[in-house]
């Protein structure tokens, strides 16, 4: 066959692809690992790109190689290389330009791209961005040198991070949110008061319940944004943060099952032999509900990519799935963690709320009260990982339920429950 070692091909050189490469390098040192990336930059920590706009970090400081778990050397990295086609029967794939590579094991880790709504006019103008790549961040940083005002469309986490980066640059920033409140995917409007207050304290203008209908430009690009209520917001730059779609357009759905993203089994394997998928491009499952989920989260992508890498290298490893929501961050001066099921309005989940002027906590149990299914912590997020563990392992909570509700749970409680349970 072809050479002494296994031929691995990985499409996509971000979280999932590079985590897989690292796992393969650890498990199969004789394997040849080729990684293809459309981007011109060597792999980097994508979540850090807002810091390029704020000026807090340089691109070099965001490089993946040699940082955290990404220690593998000797990877054959092909940058500026777009994969055009996978021929699953012949186990080979073709890149733009026509070059063909055979594989023994292939990973689809192409990630996702920003979703650009079709109902906004004028998104093609200069000064309109969707922050996804280092290249996007560079363009935004450059434009922000001249700009005084920015309008950000969408109230998700990515846009909030972009908003803070621009605030740091001294711009006047307005967030236009179609939902009744910011971060609506991660918390219900009535639960996000502390976040909203923190954002306003930090100097962000927030307009909720409205949407952009047109981006108005002149010879120098964006000049203003027209909202559906007729108001016009002056602005020299616009950033669209309206979610992402998986990069699976190049895949022949006749050969590889797609369900929006690439459908995989619990061992991250597609229907086609020796083809795996991980990260934003893959459809995985929620261990609590069993539902299929797609996420666009670095942390999930690394975990799933590592798992795929193990499987590809011949070490069968089940992926434990992920919650649809699994986010931690700090917005302005407020840390928060949101995980599992936190949208409870109109449901029969058993929900416990605790609210003060400095912290908010929502602990969500199954309707019978026996299992923890979600938690939202704002202000005090200490030991949040224990909640994740209890949700993920589907532990019976009776022995320590009050500690979950009051956020006094510690590892000793779990140890006791695990040792004493049958």
């Amino acid at each position: 066959m072809a050479g002494p070692g296994k031929q691995y091909v990985i499409i996509g050189a971000s979280a999932a692809g590079m985590a897989a490469a690292q796992a393969i390098a650890e498990k199969d040192p004789l394997g040849r690992i080729r990684i293809f990336s459309e981007e011109p930059d060597p792999p980097y920590f994508r979540p850090l790109i807002p810091f390029l706009i704020s000026g807090r970090k340089s691109a070099a400081e965001m490089e993946l190689k040699g940082s955290g778990p990404f220690q593998a050397a000797g990877l054959d990295l092909h940058l500026n290389s777009r994969v055009e086609h996978i021929e699953v029967n012949e186990q080979k794939m073709t890149v733009s330009g026509g070059e063909t590579f055979a594989y023994d094991k292939l990973l689809i880790a192409t990630g996702s791209r920003p979703h650009i709504p079709t109902d906004i006019e004028g998104v093609d103008q200069e000064g309109v961005y969707a922050l996804r790549t280092l290249k996007d961040a560079r363009s935004m940083a450059k434009r922000s040198e001249q700009a005084k005002q920015a309008v950000l469309l969408g109230g998700g986490l990515l846009n909030l991070k972009a908003a803070f980066a621009l605030l740091e640059r001294g711009l006047k920033v307005t967030l236009v949110v179609q939902s009744p409140e910011v971060l609506s995917r991660l918390m219900e409007p009535e639960d996000s008061r502390l976040i909203r207050e923190a954002l306003i304290r930090a100097g962000l203008n927030i307009k909720t319940g409205v949407r952009a209908v047109r981006i108005i430009g002149n010879g120098q690009g964006v000049r203003a944004v027209l909202l559906n209520d007729g108001r016009e917001l002056a602005s020299e730059m616009v950033c669209i943060g309206k979610g992402v779609s998986p990069n699976v357009d190049f895949i022949d759905a006749e050969q590889i099952h797609l369900e929006e993203g690439v459908l995989v089994d619990r061992f991250t394997c597609c229907n086609a032999p020796n083809v795996y998928a991980a990260g934003d491009a893959a459809v995985t499952f929620n261990p609590v509900t069993g539902e299929k989920v797609m996420t666009a989260l670095w942390t999930n992508a690394v975990e799933m990519g590592r798992c795929a890498g193990m499987n590809m290298a011949g070490y069968p490893t089940g992926y434990s799935g992920t919650f649809g929501i699994l986010n931690a961050t700090q917005v302005a001066d407020q840390p928060f963690v949101s995980m599992g099921i936190v949208h409870t309005k109109g449901s029969d989940y058993e929900t416990h709320l605790s609210a003060s002027s400095r912290a908010f906590r929502k602990v969500v149990f199954s309707a019978d009260g026996e299992r923890l299914v979600g938690v939202l912590l704002i202000g005090d997020i200490n030991r949040a990982g224990l909640y994740r563990y209890v949700i993920r392992e589907r532990m019976p909570v009776r022995a320590f339920k009050s500690h979950l509700i009051n956020q006094t749970l510690h590892y000793g409680h779990l140890l006791k429950a695990k040792v004493l349970l049958p």
Binding site: P47, G68, F70, A328, Q330, N382, G412, H413
Partner: protein, 169 residues
């Protein structure tokens, strides 16, 4: 292969008297002055990385970073700030951006948030010491610093001698 197995901090659950000596020693070791008298008045306040937790009135245990083999925090970090150096999982404060993803994924709940510096912190196994400060400070030897082999050998020997004693009587 028996090439010097790394040492770890083991917790003997039956020995902790909840005296909190380990917490004090840890905070002092991670202070600027490394002396108890000065450490108490330092700003920011020195942070302990071991937590004595009470399970019930009669039982406590010190909880600290296990430096997991497949460390969830290391893989989850979105900034590449966590890596394994000589069997110790360490957070590089220069790279940490204070996003608290590590706090969200740690199943032991032992990653702290340094609010003044906006950085995550945890047990670093006292790089400047031969034996971690908490282990040295523990008056009942509830904390021991040994390799897994040494530790399990000790348990086997104790069990064997107890069984032997039981047989004799």
């Amino acid at each position: 292969m028996s090439q010097s197995q790394p040492k770890e901090i083991f917790v003997r659950l039956d020995r902790c008297l909840s005296c909190h000596s380990c917490e004090w020693a840890c905070a002092v070791e991670h202070s600027q002055s490394k002396s108890l008298h000065q450490a108490v008045s330092e700003t920011p306040q020195p942070k302990r990385r071991v937590y004595v937790e009470s399970i019930d009135p009669n039982q406590s245990l010190p909880v600290l970073c296990r430096h997991c083999e497949e460390a969830p925090c290391l893989h989850a970090c979105i900034a590449g700030a966590i890596s394994r150096v000589k069997d110790v999982v360490i957070t590089n404060p220069g790279k940490c951006i204070g996003c608290w993803t590590c706090v969200m994924v740690c199943p032991y709940g032992v990653i702290g948030r340094h609010l003044e510096e906006h950085k995550a912190y945890r047990c670093d196994r006292c790089p400047d010491r031969a034996v971690p400060a908490c282990v040295t400070a523990c008056p009942t030897k509830a904390l021991v610093y040994r390799s897994a082999d040494e530790y399990s050998k000790g348990i086997r020997q104790t069990a064997a001698s107890e069984m032997a004693a039981g047989k004799r009587s």
